[in-house]
Symmetry: C2
Subunit: 126 residues, 2 copies
DNA sequence: ACAATAATAGTAATTGTTATCGTTTAAAGG
DNA sequence: CCTTTAAACGATAACAATTACTATTATTGT
């Protein structure tokens, strides 16, 4: 993997962002600083970074994939109204992958937990 | 909601299917019995059934939505090789939505837990 | 500095899904 | 029954998210 300014910018922007953006959202943000960047470049690098374990994909939302700079297993809260994704500072069970593997006999390598509901900002708007 | 032969067939087929198929997979299967059915009808009815709580959507896979005839909260195992979705007969924590709500202060209404790994069939093929 | 090759921008193509629209069909009342 | 009405249909166009393609540019090792 060869260095590129665009990839560094993508990673830096993702790390500074708290809501785990989509490729499109990142693209719109980065465009302000780097107007010639291509949407394809954002997608290409996000996938590349995720494949190399540097960032993490978050599926589980309707249609669009989000990206997270934190790679360790943790939980998310997805607002069903504004569709933003937040980290959940709460742990159900430590070593969940291992204990679930033992219990079920399945070869579990990772997991995703997504909680859904209306976030505090969206609740205020009612 | 008015009765339709197509909807009944979709629901019946989903209930008989163990791997929680996508709309496309259901469509291909149903076509054998009902060759004139439209893919749009499959999508329309799966969404309608899910909105009415009769079936459940499973997001969380790369891109494609799967559907599940079981509506109560339960966990899934997604094979990262063949992309089939299986039920996980294992419960981490009862009343997870409520306890996580209390713990975090978030207004959690539902959740999804997806384990990932290689299923037994795919392990055999190596 | 130069060759080799990875990465880029721009855009076309693909894929999963939804919307549209004219036609068909199930349910309810006369 | 027969008619009316609205829901559902099939076919296909439209759409949105993502990937593939291609000619050009940038990075790295020598």
């Amino acid at each position: 993997m060869k260095y590129s300014r665009q990839r560094e910018l993508i990673l830096k922007t993702l790390r500074e962002n708290g809501i785990h953006p989509t490729a499109e959202q990142l693209y719109e943000f980065i465009r302000q600083e780097e107007p010639t960047i291509s949407l394809a470049t954002v997608y290409r690098n996000l996938n590349l970074l995720a494949e190399n374990g540097i960032i993490k994909r978050i599926d589980g939302l309707e249609g669009t994939t989000h990206f997270d700079h934190q790679t360790h297993d943790h939980y998310h809260f997805i607002c069903t109204k504004c569709h933003r994704v937040f980290d959940v500072p709460y742990e159900i069970a430590p070593n969940l992958a291992e204990s679930a593997s033992k219990e079920t006999g399945l070869n579990i390598t990772s997991y995703d937990i997504a909680f859904r509901g209306i976030c505090k900002d969206c609740q205020k708007l009612n």
